[in-house]
Symmetry: C2
Amino acid sequence: MAEPDVTPDRIMQVGMGFWASKTLLSAVELGLFTELAKGPLSLADLTERLRLHPRSARDFLDALVALDMLTRAGERYANAPETDLFLDKAKPSYVGGILEMANARLYRFWGSLTEALRTGRQQNESKTGEDFFGALYANPARLESFLKAMTGLSLGAARAIAAKFPWQEYRTFVDIGAAQGGVAVEIALAHEHLTGGGMDLPVVQPIFESYVRTKGLAGRLRFHPGDFFKDELPHADVLIMGHILHDWNLEEKKRLLEKALRALPSGGALIVHEAIIDDARSQNVFGLLMSLNMLIETPGGFDFTGGDCIGWMREVGFARTRVEPLVGPDSMVVGIK
Amino acid sequence: MAEPDVTPDRIMQVGMGFWASKTLLSAVELGLFTELAKGPLSLADLTERLRLHPRSARDFLDALVALDMLTRAGERYANAPETDLFLDKAKPSYVGGILEMANARLYRFWGSLTEALRTGRQQNESKTGEDFFGALYANPARLESFLKAMTGLSLGAARAIAAKFPWQEYRTFVDIGAAQGGVAVEIALAHEHLTGGGMDLPVVQPIFESYVRTKGLAGRLRFHPGDFFKDELPHADVLIMGHILHDWNLEEKKRLLEKALRALPSGGALIVHEAIIDDARSQNVFGLLMSLNMLIETPGGFDFTGGDCIGWMREVGFARTRVEPLVGPDSMVVGIK
């Protein structure tokens, strides 16, 4: 019946992939990795500290061992190197905020993917009148923890931008939609001659300024409060937009590119970086799935290829353009005025 | 901040794995692979035939290309070899029934994994008084399609059991919980000297008999209607229990093993096969996650290691035991009376 070399294994692995995914998301929700970052623990101790039920604790922990998220030596469980660095809330490198958000929101909303595919309509709180981001922005502690997660996640891309872009040709830069300032800080740390800053909604200002201060960069990086649709962008030699354009529809994307062009001097550069889809649209799984996430999350947002972005940049008036890979699924598209 | 060689990539890939998973599940729900099995189609044709929205169709299809579930040549999408064989409803090798079930039920129930971990309680229809399996068993067409999916899924293990077990030493066998008869058929096809059959609930009888007839085995395989907890098991040289034991709690597991022992002649064999967890409980991801699925789905079920199963077999009175790997995550545990 079946060809001997064609098996349903990969289909089953992807199709049932939500099992592994939800197991890790629940581990983050329960604070497992934060607890183990203090030191290895036995099954009995972990069961008690995380208030797990004895029926489920061992399978849960051993599944995470098999997924290489934990290790087990003798009777004691410990974090794997990655989870110790990135999923311990006490470390600045914590990226669990995005997984907490996925666990609390996206997992459920993606359950309505078929409806989104049929209707083209978003499937998040907007359907029921809840307002996740409104609530997030109203709670400074939660907002800071969320923006911190963004910093952890964009660290690799930030360092690649610091290394690959010819910063020696420029003196000033502003990161548009800067959040905590993760990208701006990495660039400023790598290039002492630069001054710059970040633009974001006013509510973000204390979070940005506190992070920049802890990095000793308060003298070189300043915050520009504003709404990038309502306000003009700050002037600088280089403007950066990371994971911004994909949130918006085509007309809005072009409007943001035009605003960037207006704010740049002749010869200035715009760096657009996110999970840029490969031009053949057949390789960057994460970028393509992120675009479906924009379907779930926004009225008109979508991810795009390097070719798409270059086309829009040319259309609004950028003189030269190029695409460069950064790390993992991320690339940057550079437009020169 | 981060060690250069430790990245959050794998954490993000597993944590956001529900994106790829749900995308494939929605594709099965929409009948995409069944449609493309008839021939390649353009984006426009697929959008119309699956009633997709233009905003979402292209990202959805291209994400499936990047996941190697589809191919795209020029403007036309086609099935990958695996999806053409295993996800086309018109082929007997279709395994999509299990993914349809995962999409309609499990994805949602796994959303309550944290509650299951905290309480040790199942999280399926039992919480709301729905009865999925009752409804399934009441609808012969749906039941047949579901049991067909089980056959497709167990085909690899069935062939491995047919090849690896010393069938020349035995004359008769019965598969307990036989469903459509997939395992019994593969064994009978491979070993002409054997006669046997399958035991399952009476409602399964016409589905079993029809499948066995299409395979030309009606003279050698017969159906034994019964409930393996209420009724004694049929006598045979070899009894088989595939994906049965994990549904039940420890006391029930041992009761089924005792019943098998009673039904076997001296020297007879019981073959237990499923996603047997490795003895170190650190490798078989699928088996460990399947055990969490038993937490979601059953009041007391759990998966187990080869060592666990051997211990129970010895305890109820089997004389000799051994574990042998089959295919993928599956192994068989053999007990000799």
